[in-house]
C-alpha cells in the first residue's frame, strides 16, 4: 500500500497546522494537552496515529470535528479540509461536514449508541440528517450498508436494539454509521480496543475490505503499534501532546529515528523459548499539566544530552517523508 512517491500536494484532503488544544479547567494555567500538531492527510490514505494514553491523540482527532470534551478549547492553529478552515466555519456548514464528509468511529460502541433506539434507526438517522428529502431511500441504504459491513441478516438486524448485539456487531454498526454517507475522511479512535483479539482481526479485515470499495481516507488512532502497522500507509507517533515522528509505515518500523518510537518497538515482547528481560522505557508518561521543559521525552530518554532539557525540538525531515523531532537522531 505504499504510495509515498505518488503523494502530491493537490492530493491533500486534510491539513492541520500548528494545532494547540488546551484544557481550561479550574486552574489559571491551561493544561496543554495538544501542543503544536502538524498533520497532513492525503486522499485514499490510511494514517495511523500512535501514542499512549494522555498523549493527545484523541483530542487531536476530536479537534478536527470540533467535538471537544468540556473545558477543552482550540487555542491556536488551523485545520484545512478541502481548502476550508474548519475552525472558522459557521455552525451550519460545520454540521454539513460532520457525519457526511468527515465521520468518526469511537472506541466504545456501547456508550455511543442510544440504548432506546433501534440500530437501524440510528444508522438511517445519519443519512436523513443530511438528506432530509430522501427518507424513502434511507431504509434501503441502511440495509445495504449493514450488508457491506458484514452484519448477517441485515433486514432483521436493523430492528434490534444495541443490547441485543455483541461488542463486535456494535462496532460494525458504528462503522456502518460512519460509512453511510460515503465520507471523505473516517476518523477511527481506537476502534478495536474494547474487542477481543479474534473480533479485532475481523474488524481489521473489514476495514481493509472497505478501503477497496470506498475512496475515504482513514485516520486510525491506537496505542497498538503492531496493529496499526498492518493497516496504515503512514504512521505518526505522538508523545505528551507533540508529534515526535512521522514516516511511511515500513520505514518507521525498520528505521525509527526517534528514541521514543525505538523504545516502543523494543518493548513489544518477542517470541522466545525462555524468559527474557524486556526492554523498558523507564519512568512514567508525564502529566500533561507538568510537562518537562525542552524535549518532553528527555527525562526518560537514554540518548538525552544537555541541550535536550532546554531546547524545544521541532520536526526535521531527515529523509523524504520521514520526520523526527529529535536533535540527536543520528545516534539512534
Amino acid at each position: 500500500m505504499q504510495k509515498q512517491d505518488k503523494l502530491k500536494d493537490n492530493d491533500i484532503i486534510l491539513e492541520i497546522k500548528d494545532l494547540h488544544t488546551y484544557f481550561y479547567n479550574n486552574s489559571k494555567n491551561p493544561v496543554k494537552a495538544v501542543e503544536g500538531i502538524n498533520l497532513t492527510l492525503y486522499k485514499k490514505e490510511v494514517l495511523g496515529i500512535v501514542g499512549e494514553s494522555g498523549c493527545g491523540k484523541s483530542l487531536t482527532a476530536r479537534s478536527i470535528l470540533k467535538i471537544l470534551p468540556t473545558g477543552a478549547k482550540i487555542a491556536q492553529g488551523s485545520i484545512f479540509f478541502n481548502g476550508e478552515d474548519i475552525l472558522t466555519l459557521k455552525q451550519k456548514r460545520l454540521n454539513e461536514i460532520r457525519g457526511k464528509m468527515i465521520s468518526m468511529i469511537f472506541q466504545e460502541p456501547s456508550s455511543y449508541l442510544n440504548p432506546v433506539l433501534t440500530v437501524g434507526f440510528q444508522v438511517s438517522e445519519t443519512y436523513t440528517a443530511h438528506f432530509p428529502n430522501d427518507k424513502k431511500n434511507a431504509l434501503k441504504k441502511t440495509i445495504q450498508i449493514f450488508k457491506e459491513v458484514g452484519i448477517p441478516d441485515p433486514s432483521k438486524r436493523i430492528k434490534n436494539y444495541p443490547h441485543e448485539l455483541s461488542g463486535g456487531q456494535k462496532q460494525r454498526v458504528m462503522t456502518a454509521m460512519a460509512l453511510i454517507n460515503n465520507p471523505d475522511i473516517i476518523i477511527a479512535d481506537e476502534p478495536t480496543t474494547s474487542l477481543d483479539v479474534t473480533v479485532q482481526a475481523q474488524i481489521i479485515k473489514l476495514f481493509k475490505d472497505l478501503l477497496k470499495n470506498h475512496s475515504s481516507s482513514i485516520i486510525f488512532i491506537t496505542h497498538d503499534l503492531p496493529l496499526v502497522s498492518e493497516i496504515a500507509d503512514r504512521i505518526m507517533v505522538m508523545y505528551a501532546g507533540m508529534n515526535v515522528e512521522e514516516a511511511p509505515t515500513k520505514e518507521l518500523i525498520s528505521k525509527p529515528l526517534h528514541p521514543y518510537t525505538k523504545s516502543l518497538l523494543e518493548s513489544i515482547p518477542p517470541i522466545t523459548e525462555k524468559w527474557q528481560k524486556l526492554k523498558t522505557i523507564e519512568g512514567q508518561v508525564p502529566d500533561p499539566s507538568e510537562k518537562p521543559a525542552g524535549c518532553p521525552f528527555h527525562p526518560r530518554c537514554i540518548y538525552a544530552e544537555k541541550d535536550c532539557s532546554t531546547k524545544k525540538p521541532y520536526m526535521i525531515e531527515v529523509e523524504k517523508g520521514h520526520y523526527t523531532s529529535c536533535y540527536h537522531y543520528d545516534k539512534i
Binding site: G167, D196, P226, S267, V285
Partner: protein, 345 residues
C-alpha cells in the same frame, strides 16, 4: 497428567465447575443457568508460572477466583499443597488466605482511595499481626522493604493512591499481594489497564519478584505474547472449558486446537515477514447460558466435523505437557464416526 506427583503440585483442581443462576424475563420470572466454568482440571507446580488465556467471558477470572476460594465452586475439589481446601472455613481458611493472593486488573478501583499506601500494603500484615508476631515497628520495616522491591520511592508510603499514575498504582497492588509472603498469586490481567511503555516494566517486576519470593503465578490474560513471555505452561480456555494445554515455547510454534491457531493468527505482528495467515473466525463467543452441544467451539470452527456437533472431545495427551481436546487429534479416528459411548470425558 498422571506423571505429575501430587507433592510437586501447589494447586490442583479436580473437575471444578461454577454455575451461576441468573434471573431473566418479565419480573425475573425465568431462571437461567450460566455455566461459567465446567469440569476443569488444572495444576500449578511449585515455582511455576501458568498462563490462562481466552477471550472475554470465557470464565478465566471465575476460575482464578474459584481457586482462591473467593467464589465457592458448584462441583469439584481444589487442592492446595496437597490439602483439600474446597470446603474449609473459619480459622483454616484464614490461614490459607495468607498463602494466596490476587493482583487485580484495574489499579484504579482495586485500591481504597481513603487509605494511605502504607496502610494498603500493610493491611494484610495488621490482619495477621498476632499469628506473625509483628509489632508496628516491624510492620513499618516490612512496608519500606516492599516499597523498595516494587520500585516505589520511600515517601510513597504516606501518599494516597490518587497521587500515583496507573503503573505506580499497579506496583502498590503488587506490593500488597506480596506483603504476607504468599506462595501463590493469581495475576488477573495485571497489565491490560496499563500503557504500552509501562507494561514491560511491570512484567519485569513480576518476574523478579517471582524468583525472589519463590512464587507460583496463575497469569490470566488475553494477550498471547505477554502470557507466552512470562509463563512456563499455558492453558487455553474457551467457554468455561480448557481446550488445550501446552508449554509456552510451543504456543507460537506448534499449537493444535483450531481455536488456539485462530487466536495466534489474530495477534498483530509488526514485522510483515513474520505475519501469519489470518484464520478468521465467524461470529462471537456464544453466551455461556446456551453452550453449544458437543465441542463448544464447533459453530465457529472451520474444521468442524459431524461428530463435533454431538460429542464432547476427550482431553488427549499429544506431547510433553501438551494436551488438546479436539476430535481432529483423536487418533482412534474411526471412533469419530461410529462410537456411541467413548465420548464421556
Amino acid at each position: 497428567m498422571n506423571d505429575i506427583k501430587n507433592t510437586d503440585c501447589l494447586i490442583r483442581t479436580e473437575n471444578i465447575s461454577k454455575f451461576f443462576e441468573q434471573k431473566t424475563g418479565l419480573f425475573n420470572s425465568k431462571k437461567e443457568i450460566v455455566r461459567a466454568v465446567e469440569n476443569i482440571n488444572i495444576h500449578i507446580l511449585k515455582g511455576e508460572t501458568v498462563g490462562l488465556v481466552g477471550e472475554s467471558g470465557c470464565g478465566k477470572t471465575t476460575l482464578g477466583r474459584t481457586i482462591l476460594r473467593l467464589i465457592d465452586p458448584t462441583n469439584g475439589n481444589i487442592f492446595f499443597d496437597g490439602n483439600n481446601i474446597t470446603s474449609i472455613s473459619g480459622k483454616e481458611l484464614r490461614k490459607l488466605r495468607r498463602n494466596m493472593q490476587i493482583i487485580f486488573q484495574d489499579p484504579y478501583s482495586s485500591l481504597n482511595p481513603r487509605f494511605k499506601v502504607k496502610h494498603i500494603i500493610a493491611e494484610g500484615l495488621y490482619n495477621f499481626k498476632n499469628e506473625l508476631k509483628l509489632d508496628n515497628i516491624s510492620i513499618d520495616k516490612i512496608v519500606s522493604e516492599i516499597l523498595e522491591k516494587t520500585g516505589l520511592s520511600k515517601d510513597a508510603s504516606t501518599k494516597y493512591p490518587h497521587q500515583f499514575s496507573g503503573g505506580q498504582r499497579q506496583r502498590i497492588g503488587i506490593g500488597r499481594a506480596i506483603a504476607l509472603n504468599p506462595k501463590f498469586i493469581v495475576c488477573d490481567e495485571p497489565l491490560s489497564a496499563l500503557d504500552v511503555s509501562i507494561k514491560s516494566q511491570i512484567l519485569n517486576l513480576l518476574h523478579e519478584l517471582k524468583k525472589e519470593y519463590k512464587l507460583s503465578y496463575l497469569f490470566i490474560s488475553h494477550d498471547l505474547k505477554i502470557t507466552a513471555s512470562i509463563s512456563d505452561r499455558i492453558y487455553i480456555m474457551y467457554l468455561g472449558r480448557i481446550i488445550e494445554e501446552l508449554p509456552s515455547s510451543q504456543l507460537f510454534k506448534n499449537p493444535f486446537h483450531p481455536y488456539t491457531k485462530a487466536l495466534i493468527s489474530a495477534v498483530p505482528e509488526i514485522d510483515s515477514d513474520k505475519r501469519r495467515k489470518r484464520i478468521l473466525l465467524e461470529g462471537d463467543v456464544p453466551s455461556p447460558v446456551s453452550i453449544p452441544s458437543g465441542c463448544p467451539f464447533h459453530p465457529r470452527c472451520l474444521k468442524a466435523m459431524e461428530i463435533c456437533k454431538s460429542k464432547t472431545p476427550k482431553y488427549l495427551k499429544k506431547g510433553d505437557n501438551h494436551f488438546v481436546a479436539c476430535w481432529l487429534y483423536d487418533q482412534n479416528s474411526d471412533s469419530r464416526h461410529k462410537t456411541q459411548d467413548s465420548s464421556k470425558s
